[in-house]
């Protein structure tokens, strides 16, 4: 898509989590993604950098947004993309993840995108296949491309992330997005705050490189970025918080609470949103919201990641020949 030879090679075979990445790796992917944005904005959106390569999307959890983003990214790079829909596959018949991995591996894909409900599933898959693996979300563990697209969105609006104050609000406990973002933002030198009721905070949160706050007004004070997280429906009514209305009252982002943040603070959400639960519609659709940009950056980041991984492979194949 661009002059890839001018970029340093990405030093990893897989993208399993932000934890494995150095700040330089992250910047490299963001630089690549910046270039990919322009491709998506042309009327001719197709390139040929991944022509002849096979990409398999293996999604154990339904995810319209992430799956279509990966699919589109692959197609814009010219790859052949196959979606493995778990609902109608052998997985439903009791096949284990490893058996599925071995089967797909025998089809010789170049890149496997996996979304799974169990933490560590992407790493397990990566041990068993010969191709590159991208973690598109594994349980409550990591969702690295989400953190990268969030960083790209912020960087394009605010410049370098160092010294920015980012508040991540909501269900931190169950959120892979929160974990990946906490790691990435810390790696790039941002100041990270989390705001949530204590029932939705993981053990040891005070040692995760964040400032913890139980109040939106306090946590959002002078923030440059406000990231809202989705609250799963089954966690709303009595299990972790007493009710939707109580949750919204204290932790839902509305105009009043947003006032605590900087005037030009960005409002982000990884989607899908629960309007009126964690975010008021007027804010989600308001001038500070960059939720649509996040979706656009998602495609660019996934193009960048796949290109970076396959550049490395191509380079190694070249050396091997």
């Amino acid at each position: 898509m661009t002059d890839a030879s001018s970029l340093p090679l990405f030093p990893h075979r897989h993208l399993l989590g932000i934890r494995d990445l150095s700040p330089a790796d992250i910047e490299l992917l963001l630089d690549r993604a910046d270039r990919a944005v322009s491709i998506s904005r042309q009327s001719e959106k197709k390139t040929s950098t991944l022509r002849g390569r096979t990409q398999i999307n293996l999604f154990y959890e339904a995810s319209t947004r992430t799956q279509s983003s990966f699919e589109l990214a692959g197609k814009r790079l010219g790859a052949d993309v196959m979606n493995m829909s778990v609902a109608s596959s052998s997985v439903k018949k009791g096949e284990t993840l490893i058996d599925t991995a071995m089967t797909l591996n025998a089809m010789r894909p170049d890149i496997l995108i996996i979304r799974h409900q169990s933490a560590g599933a992407a790493a397990l898959l990566a041990q068993k296949v010969g191709c590159s693996v991208v973690n598109a979300g594994d349980g409550a563990h990591e969702h690295p491309t989400q953190a990268l697209l969030d960083a790209l969105t912020i960087r394009r609006a605010k410049g370098p992330l160092s010294k920015l104050i980012v508040a991540i609000c909501g269900d931190i406990l169950h959120s892979r997005v929160a974990r990946s973002n906490i790691m990435l933002l810390n790696a790039l030198g941002a100041q990270v705050r989390v705001v949530a009721p204590s029932t939705l905070l993981p053990a040891g949160i005070d040692r995760m490189g964040v400032v913890v706050s139980r109040s939106m007004t306090e946590g959002l004070k002078n923030a440059d970025v406000v990231m809202m997280l989705r609250l799963q429906r089954e966690r709303m009514e009595g299990a972790f918080v007493p009710s939707i209305r109580e949750y919204f009252r204290y932790f839902g982002l509305d105009a009043e609470k947003l006032k605590a943040a900087k005037e030009d603070a960005l409002v982000m959400h990884p989607g899908p949103m629960n309007r009126g639960v964690e975010i008021a519609s007027e804010i989600a659709d308001g001038p500070q919201s960059v939720i649509q940009e996040q979706v656009e950056m998602g495609v660019a980041v996934r193009m960048a990641v796949m290109e970076a991984l396959l550049d490395r492979r191509r380079n190694q194949e070249g050396r091997g020949a």
Binding site: T96, A119, R179, G204
Partner: protein, 428 residues
Amino acid sequence: MSVTLFNRAHIVDPSRGVDEIGAVIVDGRRIAAAGKAALNQGAPEGAVVIDCAGKTIIPGLIDARVFIGEPGGEHRETIASASVAAAAGGVTSIVMMPDTNPVIDNVALVEFVLRTARDTASVNIFPAAAITKGLDGREMTEFGLLREAGAVAFTDGRHTIANALVMRRALTYARDFGAVIAHETQDADLASAGVMNEGLYASWLGLSGIPREAELIPLVRDLALARLTGGAYHAAKISTAMAVGAVSRAKADGANVTAGVAIHNLSLNENDVGEYRTFFRLTPPLRAEEDRLTMVEAIKDGTIDIVVSSHDPQDVDTKRLPFADAAAGAIGLETLLGAALRLYHNGDVPLLRLVETLSTAPARLFGLPGGTLKPGAAADLALVDLDEPWIVSESGLRSRSKNTCFEGARLQGKVLQTMVAGRTVFSA
């Protein structure tokens, strides 16, 4: 009957406080002599003489918590295959858990186990029976009849009895029969979907944690009930410093309680889970290093009475899954002694005390023969080279399942020969 003379051996017999160079004479099924005094008696006529210079003889280990797949899970482990693994690990007696299919909750099942053991096992197999029928935590089993049939203890195996009244009555009723209630405590609601120790490490891995309080809360209840009823209670597998504290206080208060720890919780910690290594998914989970160190201290000072393998064979299919989906448990019969000896080699626990927790103490606790080298006792013993290093490899393990936490580990201390009632059941 044949006579064997183990000459010039380092004899460690906690039952008599013996730790000296001497000779052990095995006459037929029994020990005729063991100690310094036997050194210069000369070999009895026709005796097989084994020079044991530099080697150690200990009473055979008594592993008081072993899960076996027979009946119902023979693909994981049978009584026969477990006994071969035990013999190789210097274990001469096994207390077998009732978590089988069907559950060992009636006399016929106890008889089945004893009969199968008599016909196929090379070590002593002692069945423990369920406290409640079907391990469902509600109705008591027939303690009296089960005990008569040969059940040596009562336990609901991997299950924790949630109902305090059921536990109270079990402790009360068991007292009349002199039976020990052995219980693993993990509050099911508090542990919820947890799969490893709750803490920072689990949080970064995105795994649900099991708080230490999930172990402590039912344990404290049980300890109070043991005091109330005067029943004999054994905290079967504790894993936390707070549980050590609770047991210590209960003992100080004069309650009839004892405690055990699984070798994994004594030699590993939560960091060993690494990147989702499912062979380290255990119940109770591996805890923090401070917990482990507190339990090592508790071994030394006697708060914890016994060390068990908690041998729990799981087949590959249930382990080669994402961490949270994998089965819990690890095998341990063959590595129990080697892993425990780390504590001796590190200088953490004296040898005599360590052997006591592995052999003499469990014999005493569950009223089993063995755990001693005193003359007249059954010749259940192990000849060990305490210093010989070896590397654990899956392929060398005799257990039918290979889910070991010690794959590739360097252990020091190798079993050279194991005898059960004077018969050699293993020799290296």
